[in-house]
């Protein structure tokens, strides 16, 4: 009897391990849930870890339920905090133009125009001075600094 129980127990464990492997394969297939950890006990699959969003949660629970041998799914996953990175601040043209005028004034031979945040620089300048000017212009929150019209001496 004890032997039978032990056999039953071990085969049940074996089955859980197989089911767990199958569920893990399904999780790995979903890029948004590849870090999810799976444990299976008596056919109950427990999912834990961090997933991308609600839709992923729903998808992985249903994917786990579809695995043969899974009787139930316990979803302990949490949703990753959205990485909200503020977009770059682009200066409005008028203040940008004023600042660009201030920045370029010390470099005779250089002209700059501003259109939709893009600073277009033209004229002739030494490489060393262009580096200094570019440093300044980059500090004015431009969308882009275009020096392709410049002649670098």
């Amino acid at each position: 009897m004890a032997l039978l129980l032990a056999l039953g127990f071990s085969s049940c464990k074996q089955k859980d391990a197989d089911v767990q492997a199958a569920v893990e394969t399904k999780m790995k297939a979903n890029a948004d849930a590849s870090d999810v950890m799976v444990t299976v006990n008596d056919g109950v699959a427990t999912l834990s870890g961090v997933v991308k969003d609600d839709a992923t949660k729903t998808a992985i629970v249903s994917a786990a339920k579809d695995v043969k041998g899974v009787k139930n799914v316990v979803d302990n996953t949490s949703i990753a905090e959205a990485m909200t990175v503020a977009p770059p601040v682009i200066a409005a043209d008028d203040p940008l133009m004023n600042n660009v005028m201030d920045a370029t004034k010390d470099y005779p031979g250089v002209n700059a125009t501003v259109t939709d945040g893009v600073v277009m620089v033209n004229g002739t300048i030494s490489a060393a001075n262009w580096k200094k000017l570019k440093m300044r212009l980059d500090g004015l929150n431009p969308k882009r600094v275009d020096g392709t019209q410049l002649t670098i001496k």
Partner: protein
């Protein structure tokens, strides 16, 4: 990682390893925006050198790098770091403003306020107070 991020990875890696604070690297419409606060002027210079190695003469126009040196609020003295000329001190923040004084190249003057990013309020030895272009002022005396 996008092509642009890969292209400038040596630059952003250098910024990270040099201890640039609040480093923010964002890509938008084909331009990589690199922002942060450098621990020193030397670090800022070295980052611009790395940038120049990747994009000779900074002509690609695919990076806007605004990595400035932090000037602590407690700093009250700054040095005039013009090429060689005197630094104009103006009534208000802007080159259209009337010149109210001048500070000599290399002179150390009093920093009153950094409330405006581009123009700092300063006071000369003679007590003239006005706005000077921040790029020409250095906290490293």
């Amino acid at each position: 990682m996008t092509n642009l991020e890969t292209k400038y990875k040596p630059l952003t890696d250098a910024a990270t390893s040099a201890g640039v604070q609040d480093l923010l690297v964002r890509e938008q419409d084909g331009v990589l925006y690199i922002n942060g606060v450098a621990p020193s002027g030397a670090v800022k210079d070295s980052l611009w050198n790395v940038y120049g190695q990747i994009d000779p003469n900074f002509l690609s126009g695919d990076v806007v790098m605004d990595v400035n040196t932090s000037v602590d609020a407690s700093v009250t003295q700054v040095k005039v770091v013009t090429e060689s000329s005197n630094l104009n001190i103006r009534k208000g923040p802007g080159t259209d403003q009337q010149i109210v004084g001048k500070a000599a190249h290399g002179e150390v003057i009093t920093l009153v306020s950094q409330s405006n990013e581009q123009w700092w309020l300063v006071r000369t030895k003679d007590g003239e107070e006005g706005y000077a272009y921040a790029q020409y002022l250095s906290a490293e005396l």
